[in-house]
């Protein structure tokens, strides 16, 4: 397979080789270290080998594109991404920070992460990152085409840390993953410690609606949103559900959540949707104006990504305003500097936190002050 | 206002399916109150002619004269309706009931009268599908009568019946004929049926114009032999009252004997 891989990459190698030789002259000791092949074990337990750090990575999993941008502090190594990832970038701040994302190809996968092998071949990737655990059908086309493939798994913080590390290692920046994970650990520990001191009775009942506009669905046990909410000291009312399940308004009324989080995916979804609903407007959350829509930073804050600790801080501030008072705006500014080498303007932070639609939201004033 | 009884007629009528003419230049006329039997071998277009008279199929050429509604008694080939006989007969009232209506007690009275007329009152509540062939044929006639039309068009009403039921059917048809209130047309394979229940007969000849006229003159041995391609003989035999009754008999298996 490695042999076939060579054939596949041959046209790309020649111009790059000259560049590499030049780079090697400049940093001889480092180049010597880099000469070692990179051997990784992906989340499906497969061995993935790169002779040198990948220069062109195709990321089929949606959050992976922005992770690669964050780990590489730029779009250089991103050779292709999921169409939905591109939509999120153009809709959010990442497209503004890196305008060139508009030109990165987003045709490498179709519905349900089915690889588009022709488009992938045209993208000339050194490495393709794909979801594991979703069956062989979406993997076989890649391996059959001789593409160097790395599989990752979705859902937990542990998986996220492992694939952030893998992604950073693959592009030769393992230290950036280490820093990200250290940050995750410290924020997790800080919030966890304070939440442990909160008696269960004081933990608000929380609902995360992963879909709302047409058919409603709640995030239950096993979802990343459940883990984040639990970490930040919320009691997920949908904990009895396995992962994301459809629910009706009556069920929500019976749960009577004190806080409702709306997913960051549905573009037209705002807290008004809850306030206007004859049933949902009667929940404790609606009556106390504690309905919030997930922010959109470098990526949507619902699934695990490079900015997850910011999500946790946001959640903790909103769920326990007396316990937590993270300077979220400051944190966001600092982390964007670190992740994307970008200096955010105040209005851009307003956009990430979706201030306009949270005009009446309780507890959002703290996020408003500049 | 009473509608003037109308005669039924085809004038120089022709029917073509694709490129094949089933019949051409067919003339036919039945006065009100008369009964016409249509005879002819298989494939000569008896049923097609009947359907043309009924208006099921538009004529390819020629003219048709008929009232709007005719009582139709189909062949016993169609899948029997699963309804009770009385419900089946009341369907004859369809045109009067209207698109969105339900049959009224008056409609049921008409249906019951028709059932009574054909003499199967005792079967009124039975499911139609469970009746014998003869009983079904009577039921279908009752339904045609219940329509209130003064025309009765029957498609081979006797062909699926045993001799006893054939007798009952012909008795009923003759009875209706003699009342002279209805115009009746039926097709049949048996010239004796025409003799028993019809005033006139129409012979659908091969490669020549159809012949028609009163049954006792038109159904000559020569005409019938030409019609069927089998030697036909006519006799007169005494009936139960000792009166002369004409019978027509095919000379089956005789012509082959000559060849031997």
């Amino acid at each position: 397979m490695i042999f076939r891989c060579h054939i596949f990459r041959r046209p790309a190698i020649r111009p790059c080789a000259a560049l590499l030789a030049f780079a090697a002259l400049l940093t001889v000791p480092l180049a010597l270290v880099r000469a070692e092949p990179i051997v990784m074990t992906d989340l499906e337990g497969r061995t993935v080998t790169l002779e040198k750090p990948a220069e062109r990575v195709a990321a089929i999993p949606i959050p992976m594109a922005s992770i690669l941008i964050a780990m590489g502090q730029g779009t250089k190594s991103l050779a292709g991404m999921n169409r939905i990832a591109k939509t999120a970038m153009l809709e959010g701040i990442l497209g503004k920070i890196f305008p060139e994302t508009a030109d990165i190809r987003a045709d490498i996968a179709g519905q349900n992460f089915m690889p588009n092998v022709e488009a992938l071949a045209a993208a000339r990737p050194d490495l393709v990152i794909q979801w594991g655990g979703r069956g062989d059908d979406i993997v076989k086309p890649l391996t059959n085409a001789g593409l160097n493939t790395m599989l990752i798994l979705y859902g937990t913080e542990d998986y996220a840390r492992r694939y952030i590390t893998l992604a950073a290692t693959a592009i030769g920046k393992p230290e950036r993953a280490a820093a990200n994970i250290a940050w995750r650990r410290s924020v997790e520990a800080e919030i966890g410690a304070k939440v442990r001191a909160i008696p269960p009775a004081q933990k608000p009942r929380v609902l995360h609606l992963s879909r709302a506009m047409t058919a409603m669905a709640a995030s239950g046990r096993g979802s990343y949103e459940d883990a984040s909410i639990t970490l930040a000291g919320g009691e997920n009312v949908a904990a009895a559900l396995n992962d994301v399940m459809p629910v009706n308004r009556e069920r929500i009324a019976a749960w009577d959540p004190e806080v409702i989080f709306l997913n960051g995916f549905e573009e037209e979804l705002t807290p008004e949707f809850i306030y206007k609903d004859p049933i949902l407007s009667q929940t404790a959350a609606a009556r106390t104006k504690r309905v919030y829509k997930y922010p959109l930073g470098g990526y949507r804050w619902d699934p695990p990504n490079q900015e997850s600790p910011l999500t946790w801080m946001w959640l903790a501030n909103l769920l326990h305003p007396k316990v937590f008072a993270f300077d979220l705006r400051g944190e966001i500014r600092m982390r964007f500097r670190e992740l994307y080498a970008y200096e955010l303007k105040d209005t851009e932070i307003d956009g990430i936190l979706r201030l306009p639609i949270h005009a009446s939201a309780a507890g959002y004033d703290a996020l408003r002050s500049r | 206002m009473k509608i003037t009884p109308m005669k039924i007629a085809l004038n120089r009528a022709g029917m073509r399916f694709g490129s094949r003419w089933i019949f051409r230049g067919l003339d036919l006329a039945v006065e009100h109150g008369a009964t016409l039997a249509i005879l002819g071998p298989n494939g000569r277009g008896k049923t097609t002619a009947l359907h043309a008279i009924l208006g099921f199929l538009p004529l390819t050429e020629g003219e048709r004269t008929a009232p709007n509604r005719l009582g139709y008694v189909p062949q016993l080939l169609t899948i029997p309706a699963p309804h009770a006989l009385r419900e089946m007969v009341v369907m004859g009232r369809c045109a009067r009931v209207g698109l969105f209506g339900q049959p009224s007690p008056e409609d049921y009275r008409a249906a019951d009268a028709a059932i009574e007329r054909v003499g199967i009152r005792h079967l009124a509540g039975e499911p139609f599908a469970r009746l014998s062939g003869g009983e079904r044929q009577m039921g279908l006639i009752a339904r045609a009568l219940a329509t209130g039309s003064d025309v009765l068009v029957l498609d081979e009403p006797a062909s699926a019946l045993d001799l006893g039921n054939q007798g009952r059917l012909l008795y009923l048809l003759n009875d209706l004929r003699q009342a002279r209130e209805m115009t009746i047309l039926f097709t049949t394979h048996d010239p004796n049926h025409a003799l028993a229940a019809a005033d006139d007969a129409l012979l659908m000849m091969k490669n020549e114009a159809a012949l028609s006229g009163p049954v006792d003159t038109i159904m000559s041995e020569a005409n019938l032999t030409r019609l069927y391609g089998v030697a036909m003989r006519q006799f007169a035999i005494p009936d139960q009252q000792g009166q002369a009754m004409p019978v027509i008999v095919p000379m089956h298996a005789r012509h082959s004997g000559e060849k031997r």
């Binding site: 669905a217 559900l241 459809p246 009324a253 549905e266 | 099921f56 369907m91 045109a95 698109l99 509540g125």
Partner: protein
């Protein structure tokens, strides 16, 4: 004496029909009350009665949460389940008559796939409400016209060609639905389309009930009014014509009414299959083939069936089970049994 026997037999049949109908109405009322009384949000039976009483005597009073759930969630949902259940079952019964074929249902004729395509297209384009209803009606009717065009050869429509035409058109529209799913945004309209296609009353509101009710009620009532004519249309075409019916024309009237009912139901609840196929069978087993009795009974059973399955769909688990999935799980085995029975009878 024979006549007397027949009259007694008819009389007992009459009384049996009255008893059957009474029983079915009672069951529907009971199922509806149970459906109103149970749900994820606990409301005591006494409270249910109090809320309903207050809604009638003092409709302007402000509503408590349980009253809102009863009157704004469960009641419109119940109304929709009754209307759609009755309507879809009537459509199946009417189509089975017109085609003289007991295995026909709106789905088989391409109407449902057509309406589903219209609805999916509407969701994809961000159209809701009347627009969605109109689009699914137009596409349902369009599918039907297409089937009619395919099936009409030499000015005659054969049952077999209609069924085959329905198969072809149904497959075409199913493929178009897949195409829409393929191009739909997985974060936006796609999950909505997928869930909607599975069929559910979960998002039922009075607004939706108001949207679907006119079509459901009009289509169903006109079909019910046609029930004697449906008996006649179930006869051989020439027989029907000789009795004064206009089979060709009236068949299209039935098709149009079916399209109105199916599209109205599809617009608010997606595709709820099997109701139109199995309920008319069950009804014929109970009261026989005369549509004057069978069609109203079909309506009653269809309404009860959806009320019961919808109650299960929203109460069996914490999460909402898509109704279309439930009706298929219940409907498919029943249909298999009916199919075996049908062919065994034909053998006999």
């Amino acid at each position: 004496m024979a006549l007397a026997d027949a009259l007694v037999a008819a009389g007992s049949r009459q009384s049996r029909r009255v008893a059957t109908t009474t029983l079915l109405v009672a069951f529907l009322v009971a199922a509806s009350l149970v459906g109103l009384g149970v749900g994820q949000f606990p409301i005591a039976p006494s409270r249910v009665i109090a809320i309903l009483g207050q809604a009638i005597t003092d409709p302007a009073a402000p509503l408590a949460v349980d009253a809102r759930i009863l009157l704004l969630v469960r009641l419109p949902r119940l109304v929709l389940a009754i209307l759609a259940g009755a309507g879809l079952a009537i459509c199946g019964g009417a189509l089975q008559c017109v085609f003289r074929n007991p295995l026909v249902a709106p789905q088989i004729l391409g109407i449902s796939p057509g309406a589903a395509f219209g609805g999916a297209l509407a969701i994809f384009l961000g159209i809701s409400g009347v627009g969605l209803l109109g689009l699914s009606f137009a596409c349902g009717l369009g599918a039907l016209v297409l089937v009619g065009w395919i099936a009409r050869i030499d000015g005659r429509t054969e049952t077999v060609t209609v069924l085959l035409g329905g198969l072809v058109v149904g497959s075409l529209f199913s493929a178009l639905v897949s195409l829409i799913q393929f191009v739909a945004d997985p974060n936006g309209s796609l999950p909505a389309i997928v869930y909607w296609l599975m069929g559910s009353f979960a998002s039922a509101t009075w607004e939706q009930a108001g949207l679907a009710a006119p079509g459901l009620v009009t289509g169903s009532s006109v079909l019910l009014a046609l029930r004697f004519r449906l008996n006649i249309l179930s006869l051989d075409e020439n027989e029907a014509r000789s009795l004064g019916a206009h089979p060709e024309r009236e068949r299209w009237l039935v098709f149009g009414l079916v399209a109105i009912v199916v599209a109205s139901s599809v617009a608010v609840s997606g595709i709820i299959g099997w109701v139109g196929l199995i309920i008319p069978h069950i009804s014929r087993l109970i009261v026989g083939p005369d549509q004057r009795v069978a069609l109203p009974v079909t309506a009653l059973i269809g309404a009860s069936f959806l009320v019961v399955t919808d109650t299960i769909a929203r109460t069996a688990t914490t999460a909402e089970i898509p109704l279309g999935v439930l009706t298929a799980i219940v409907g498919a085995p029943i249909f298999a049994l009916l199919l075996r029975r049908h062919f065994r009878e034909r053998e006999a």
